[in-house]
């Protein structure tokens, strides 16, 4: 076995591990064992995982090793471990979506994403923590306790996919899966110094995702490098007849784009409305430095205005709760999950109300009532109807911007990771974390967050967001890998190498 491996196994990228496996320098069982040992060692502190499936993971790894030894043709991610956000159904494996209402539920089927991961030989280590039903920006709304940011255990790892981002930053897995409805992949990536991509809406199947807001939800890859994210993107993306919103078109060549990393002549727009007032000084500083790098690399950087973005947050918090309140009606205590107060006397309606009261956390109840309010007669036109019009205006802003430039950039989040507890019972403060990520979900195009350094004030990671038009996912990877290569050149390593020892 090559010296690079062994104790450093958990710190390697998926691409490096894949090459080592193909060269016979390391086995999938060794890599999987290393990740499981790392989880054993640090997850008491980090709490990235809700469930670890040791036996299945090792059996999958052993199977890949056997097939590889027999000379089977395997994809680049065969044998690579992955942390799966608990929003994806996986047959026979607990799937809670961070909610007590699904505490002991084991789905009878696989999501399409899981099916594709299995087909690619990816080793699924277990399920990661998240805000309940993906509602939140900190994992503090999980029904199973928060996840801690490996950069500073007193701080949030982002949300809703904080378990997946923390698993990457804590070196518990080289790859993770997330879902992004308003920023739940990108914001956790930004605050943990990792890479997260929200593909074009319809780019990755939603079949088997526990739905939050169906017109906004999109699954996507999380990793410590841009190339790893691209390799995962390629595995999970593509048309699925079981998702009627799935796009029937070829997946953009994201891996080639990540390998090219050439931004010469690309037109990059700075969104005037995202990044000024309300953004932490160190976030702005690292963002400006990254933009200067892109200019040095030959990109043509201009300022672009998207005047309706300032209404995005309001539109989002009308549309999302409306869709969520409908989607979450299925949790009625009748067919799966928790049932509370069924004393033989109570009516079905009473049992439903008691079940939902007992099984849902505070944020879920807030949003269900908000959605019920915005959809109720008398308010529908003023709120939900107006929000849908704003959605049109935001899509038009993007369309106009993409006539001038190839991609847009902004800071991913207004601040670095805040302290656990700081915004827990202040919903409006919590919602502001997604101010820069929400417009993309409303318009359905794609975006990526890449780490661009540590904020000088607090030594915490800063993310830069790249936004591209629908089905322009490859552009994200071109820009992301160009930036990553220049920064790695400067730092001598990827940003996560600076995570303090746990």
């Amino acid at each position: 076995m090559a010296p690079v491996m062994d104790s450093d196994l958990v710190r390697q990228s998926a691409a490096t591990l894949s090459a080592a496996m193909q060269a016979g320098e390391v086995t999938s069982v060794q890599v999987t064992e290393a990740c499981l040992a790392r989880i054993e060692e640090v997850d008491d502190k980090v709490h990235a995982f809700l469930h670890v499936d040791r036996e299945t993971a090792l059996a999958t790894a052993a199977d890949i090793d056997t097939r590889r030894a027999a000379g089977a043709e395997l994809g680049p991610l065969a044998g690579i471990p992955l942390a799966l956000k608990d929003v994806f159904t996986m047959r026979g494996v607990p799937t809670t979506c961070g909610s007590r209402i699904l505490a002991d539920w084991r789905p009878p089927y696989d999501s399409t994403v899981v099916e594709r991961l299995r087909a690619a030989g990816v080793v699924i280590l277990g399920k990661t923590n998240m805000d309940e039903f993906a509602m939140g920006s900190s994992t503090e709304h999980s029904g199973y306790g928060p996840t801690h940011n490996p950069w500073d255990l007193e701080r949030i790892p982002g949300g809703s996919g904080g378990g997946s981002s923390a698993a990457l930053a804590a070196f518990e897995a080289p790859l993770a899966m997330g879902t992004d409805t308003g920023g739940s992949i990108r914001q956790p990536a930004a605050v943990t110094g990792t890479v997260g991509v929200k593909p074009t809406y319809g780019g990755v199947s939603r079949y088997g995702l526990v739905a939050l807001a169906s017109s906004l939800d999109q699954a996507g890859p999380c990793a410590r490098t841009v190339l790893d994210a691209a390799l995962l993107h390629e595995v999970i993306a593509g048309h699925d007849p079981r998702d009627s919103t799935s796009i029937d078109a070829p997946v953009p060549d994201v891996v080639a784009a990540a390998r090219s990393g050439d931004v010469r002549g690309m037109r990059i727009g700075l969104v005037r409305e995202l990044g000024g007032e309300g953004y932490q000084q160190g976030v702005r500083q690292r963002f400006d430095e990254a933009v200067a790098i892109l200019t040095d690399l030959g990109a043509d950087v201009v300022e672009v205005s998207c005047p309706n973005f300032e209404y995005a947050l309001g539109a989002y918090y009308l549309i999302l709760p409306a869709e969520a309140s409908s989607n979450l009606a299925r949790f009625d205590g009748m067919r799966y999950g928790l049932r509370a107060g069924d004393d033989g006397d109570a009516s079905v309606e009473e049992v439903m109300s008691r079940t939902r009261e007992a099984g849902f956390g505070a944020e879920v109840k807030r949003r269900i009532m908000l959605g019920t309010y915005s959809l109720s007669s008398g308010y529908y036109d003023a709120y939900y109807g107006q929000a849908q019009k704003v959605r049109t205006l935001i899509a038009r802003d993007f369309a106009a911007a993409f006539e001038q430039v190839d991609v847009l950039v902004s800071p991913t989040t207004p601040t670095t990771a805040f302290r656990l507890g700081e915004k827990l019972d202040d919903p409006l403060a919590m919602y502001l974390n997604d101010i820069a990520t929400i417009p993309v979900n409303l318009a359905g195009n794609c975006a990526m967050s890449v780490p661009v350094g540590l904020s000088p004030e607090d030594g915490l990671p800063v993310g830069l967001q790249i936004m591209a038009p629908a089905l322009g996912d490859d552009r994200l990877y071109r820009v992301g890998s160009a930036l990553e290569a220049a920064l790695v050149d400067r730092w001598g390593h990827v940003l996560t190498e600076e995570v303090p020892a746990l």
């Binding site: 009878p108 809406y201 017109s215 906004l216 919103t245 209404y311 799966y336 009532m369 309010y373 959605r391």
Partner: protein, 98 residues
């Protein structure tokens, strides 16, 4: 502006099938009012002639071949049910005096 009263919260909770506690009703009345105030800014823009967007990437007439595929396993569904009796979901009474 859009103050949401206790009575409205109770009504919303009833519509949404949430049996809230007294404390929750007070707390949500305050928080929901603040949230609705903040999001109501959407009414400032978007004139009458702007068409609404319900879906970001419009896809119409999505069909798949009508072929037989395996369904989910009945025993696995039973195992996940909160109450199962005689090969069926057992549910609380649906009709009654109340």
């Amino acid at each position: 502006m859009a103050a949401i009263t206790r009575a409205e919260v109770e009504h919303l909770a009833r519509l949404a099938r949430l049996e809230l506690t007294e404390g929750e009703i007070d707390h949500y009345a305050e928080q929901l009012s603040a949230i609705v105030d903040a999001v109501a800014r959407v009414s400032e823009v978007a004139a009458q002639d702007i068409p609404p967007t319900s879906h970001p990437i419009p896809v119409t007439n999505t069909f798949r071949p009508d072929v037989v595929r395996p369904g989910v396993d009945r025993d696995e569904i039973a195992a996940g049910a909160p109450a199962w009796e005689d090969d069926r979901f057992r549910v609380p009474r649906i009709l009654g005096e109340s």
